[in-house]
Subunit: 202 residues, 2 copies
């Protein structure tokens, strides 16, 4: 079992620090219904433009509905299936393209949905779970299989479960699992006062 904390130059909150996208799930441990509800509650309380809550999530719990879980699983790319097979819970995050209140285009739909998913992933950390978001799925297939209206954009699938031993992974994935987390230098993406004036950390 490993913890990959962020190597940040200044302190950040524990659950932000400990969140990372691992792939070694423990297939033997189910996620309780109460835990699933807390994950969704966390997403529910994310902020959104005009309070429109543009996100819609579907959750599939292998424990309570293996048929639906399997249908969702088949929408994943082969490379992801190889490790998601051990994750007891799958989710899909979709973003409304229009505002609920007036039907006009909502340019913040995906941005706000990203915030809701991040809340969900952080809540997973708080509950001792691991959540891993994926872009690698067949968006047309999941739309077709679950009759998702065109009005909603399928953004990410998310695998959730308890962390397992990295020995459940194949060699390639295990190497990724054990590699340190890394990010660009702070000043590469965070500017001070002016575009591309990288912020100095000292």
């Amino acid at each position: 079992m490993q913890h990959k904390t962020a190597t940040s130059s200044t302190a950040i909150h524990d659950i932000l620090n400990r969140r990372w996208s691992g792939r070694a799930f423990d297939a033997s441990k189910a996620v309780s219904r109460e835990q699933i509800l807390s994950l969704l509650e966390a997403a529910r309380w994310a902020p959104s433009c005009f309070g429109d809550e543009p996100w819609r999530f579907i959750v599939w719990d292998r424990n309570s509905d293996p048929v639906a879980w399997e249908k969702a699983f088949t929408c994943l790319g082969e490379w992801n299936q190889d490790w998601v097979k051990n994750a007891p819970v799958l989710l899909l995050a979709t973003a409304n393209t229009v505002f609920r209140k007036n039907g006009k285009p909502n340019v913040w739909g995906q941005y706000d949905t990203g915030a809701a998913s991040e809340n969900l992933c952080l809540q997973a950390v708080a509950q001792g779970l691991m959540a891993h978001q994926m872009g690698g799925f067949d968006a047309d297939m999941v739309r077709r299989e679950f009759e998702i209206p065109e009005q909603f954009t399928c953004m990410a699938m998310i695998a959730v479960g308890y962390q397992g031993e990295e020995t459940v992974l194949n060699d390639e994935l295990r190497e990724l699992e054990l590699a340190p987390r890394n990010r660009s230098a702070l000043g590469d993406n965070f500017f001070e006062g002016y575009w591309e004036k990288g912020i100095k950390t000292s």
Copy 2:
């Protein structure tokens, strides 16, 4: 001083619970440089598709560069200016439209940037600060004023500072400040197994 916790049916983590978008800032309290760096670090460690880190943020600190802060402030809508005038720190979150590594369109750019901004807002809570995201700004103006390349979409401006007394707000804003937070019922946006099959909370 008020705390508006989420009224969720199941427990969620404290910093997710306490995050809300207040408007009553204390103009007399600056945010330290170390605090600003921690906010940015929190955003830096958000997840992103292929680890591309599509977000770019500009931070304006009234305390260290009042001229640049003022220039950013003028890009806000009048309604927002009325309360943001008390916020010592402003930020702009922008999303890369293409992948850094190969220049191809990145359909997760806005989604991932939303996650980074949420991390920043949660870190603000952890530090005893308040962060409030806004879509109400002139995106063309901020692009022009700060020479932001077309490749990046201007998503949100964010006001950060210490919470102040709600008496700093005008009547209309004070009413909003004191109103309870609310969200749609969980089952309206969170489905179980199938589209629009709202999850049951009991």
